[in-house]
């Protein structure tokens, strides 16, 4: 039973490590395996060390953390709403974050202030959607999803408006942020620690989530305290998304596609799917970001484009092959 969980997770972890090493080795200056090994041991020439430890490693770790956070948040939202289309982007959370970030860019501030502004935007959007979906009665999954979709559409209009009104010299930066961009991600530890903490906290809840996926009444009949669990999932998924968006801008698709791919491959046990999402989502984004910064180097592509270009055919292939 336990082996059934550890086998796929171990394999995914190996793939993640390989992807990480690959992303450390390739770039505008390629490193051989021997050079990389020297750097890992604290030797090698100074230039290679600086490049790997100060530039590529933080960026790769950030990419891993962001991909993992988005995939886990998507998987949680899908269980909460029992709807395979749910994901933090569909629910308007990232739209709120985008408005916060773009407003900070328009005001000419960057760095921590911009991150803070994006985080506040994400949380505000979360509470707006949840409050409106709650309305006068209780909320239902379909009502929450519909509210989120409409709020997201509203944010989309506001984003377009902000772009139209922005001075031309700010536009490229804003557009890159909207398509997802890891080139300014220099602090990988906060999102990485959040991802690890989330995975540890979700292990004991996995079985309850399995039961919740059968519907709230069935879950209650089997001893789950449904309402606190649903609130907890919603708040957790929102926080994860906010942290991811704050780190790397708005990267779509990971939260929707990674959980589905894993369900098609590994079945539907949340105790397996959630940590697998963290690993596979992280791996996908590390690879996508490596491609984004090497394909037309020294120019960089927005990473969101690559996740979509990699993910869409893989997903369609798995869906086509599935039972």
């Amino acid at each position: 039973m336990v082996a059934r969980l550890w086998q796929p997770l171990g394999l995914l972890a190996l793939i993640a490590v390989a992807a990480m090493l690959f992303s450390l080795a390739v770039g505008s200056a390629q490193l051989s395996a021997a050079q990389l090994w020297a750097v890992v041991q604290g030797q090698g020439d100074a230039l290679a060390r600086t490049m790997v430890i100060e530039l590529r490693l933080p960026r790769a770790l950030s990419a891993f953390a962001v991909g993992g956070l988005l995939a886990v948040a998507g998987a949680l939202m899908q269980v909460l709403l029992r709807n395979p289309l749910a994901d933090p982007y569909v629910l308007g959370i990232s739209g709120g974050a985008s408005i916060g970030a773009l407003a900070a860019m328009l005001a000419g501030v960057g760095g921590v202030l911009m991150s803070g502004s994006a985080f506040i935007g994400a949380l505000l959007s979360t509470f707006l959607v949840f409050g409106l979906a709650h309305g006068s009665g209780g909320w239902t999954p379909s009502r929450l999803l519909l509210t989120g979709v409409v709020v997201a559409a509203g944010w989309g209009a506001v984003i377009t408006l902000m772009l139209a009104l922005s001075p031309a010299e700010r536009l490229p930066g804003m557009l890159y942020w909207l398509m997802g961009d890891l080139s300014y991600a220099r602090a990988p530890w906060p999102p990485l620690l959040l991802l690890m903490a989330t995975c540890v906290l979700l292990i004991p809840l996995g079985r309850s989530l399995n039961v919740l996926a059968r519907g709230p009444q069935q879950a209650a009949a089997l001893g789950v305290d449904v309402r606190p669990l649903e609130w907890g999932i919603y708040i957790a998924a929102s926080l994860l998304t906010a942290a991811a968006v704050t780190t790397a801008g708005s990267i779509g698709f990971v939260g929707l596609v990674v959980p589905h791919m894993l369900r098609l491959l590994l079945g539907n046990d949340q105790r397996l799917i959630l940590p697998a999402c963290a690993l596979a989502g992280g791996t996908l984004l590390v690879l996508a970001d490596t491609l984004a910064r090497t394909m037309i180097a020294p120019e960089q592509l927005p990473v969101g484009v690559i996740t979509a270009l990699l993910g869409v055919p893989t997903f369609l292939f798995l869906l086509y092959r599935s039972r």
Binding site: M1, P204, S208, R214, G215, A221, L222, G223, R323
Partner: protein
């Protein structure tokens, strides 16, 4: 061995002004059938007894403890409910579906062990769906899914069984098999209550009957005092003929 009782219970059916306050006691070993036309509140009653719906007034007792004082997990260790409708958001196999019946007994960090798997396998065997154990539930027929739902509650092994139309979608053989299983659970000390639409199954397998009228009125008692044609005809607003087969009455609706 746990009995299920209600004290002055009035279930909360939207738009219904009043109703008979229910004072029922379902003892271990008894099989109760709930009969009533569509919309009489049979499902609401079962959900209220399971603590999923709040009553309008009165209370439900599990053993001697009010349901409202028990945690959901404690309720689930004593009481199992077979739902009439199931939604499966994400595909799961038959074996996984039966295994969730062990959820109330496992601690947060615990995985299902050999004993849990053995119970689930035995339950699938008892419901004649063991050969489907690796199939996805959403690929099964209605009757097979109904039996898997029963197997989940059998894996849960509650002392109190509530079943909402457990014979739905089942062929004749499996209808009898499921009713025999419920009777067997009662014989082993469970208290059983089920909603039924088939008067003849109720007449054959239940020892107590609760009649629920759309107005909210209700009456209950031993089978032979409740299954009288005149009461049933007014309950369903349908003329009935009665014949006797193997010592049990058989009700046949008349034309016109």
């Amino acid at each position: 061995m746990t009995r299920l009782a209600t004290q002055d219970l009035i279930i909360n059916v939207p738009g219904r002004s009043a109703g008979t306050a229910l004072n029922l006691t379902i003892e271990p070993g008894q099989v109760w059938g709930v009969l009533g036309p569509n919309g009489a509140g049979k499902t609401t009653l079962l959900h209220t007894l399971a603590g999923l719906n709040a009553p309008r007034s009165g209370q439900v007792l599990i053993g001697n403890t009010p349901l409202s004082q028990l945690r959901r997990r404690q309720v689930a260790q004593r009481l199992g409910l077979v739902f009439q409708e199931r939604l499966d958001g994400f595909p799961a196999t038959v074996l996984e579906t039966a295994l969730i019946g062990r959820h109330p007994y496992l601690s947060l960090w615990q995985m299902e062990g050999a004993d849990d798997y053995a119970r689930a396998a035995a339950a699938l065997e008892a419901l004649d769906v063991a050969h489907l154990r690796h199939r996805l539930v959403n690929t099964l027929s209605g009757g097979e899914r109904q039996r898997v739902a029963m197997a989940t509650v059998l894996t849960q092994a509650p002392n109190i069984w509530l079943a909402d139309e457990p014979t739905n979608h089942l062929d004749l053989h499996h209808q009898s098999a499921v009713m025999a299983l419920m009777a067997e659970q009662a014989a082993q000390g469970s208290a059983v209550m089920m909603c039924l639409h088939d008067l003849n199954l109720a007449a054959r397998w239940c020892d107590h009957i609760l009649l629920l009228y759309p107005s909210g009125e209700a009456c209950w008692g031993p089978r032979d005092t409740m299954l009288v044609p005149r009461a049933l005809e007014s309950l369903y607003r349908q003329k009935l003929a009665v014949v006797e087969v193997e010592g049990a009455p058989v009700f046949v609706p008349l034309k016109g």
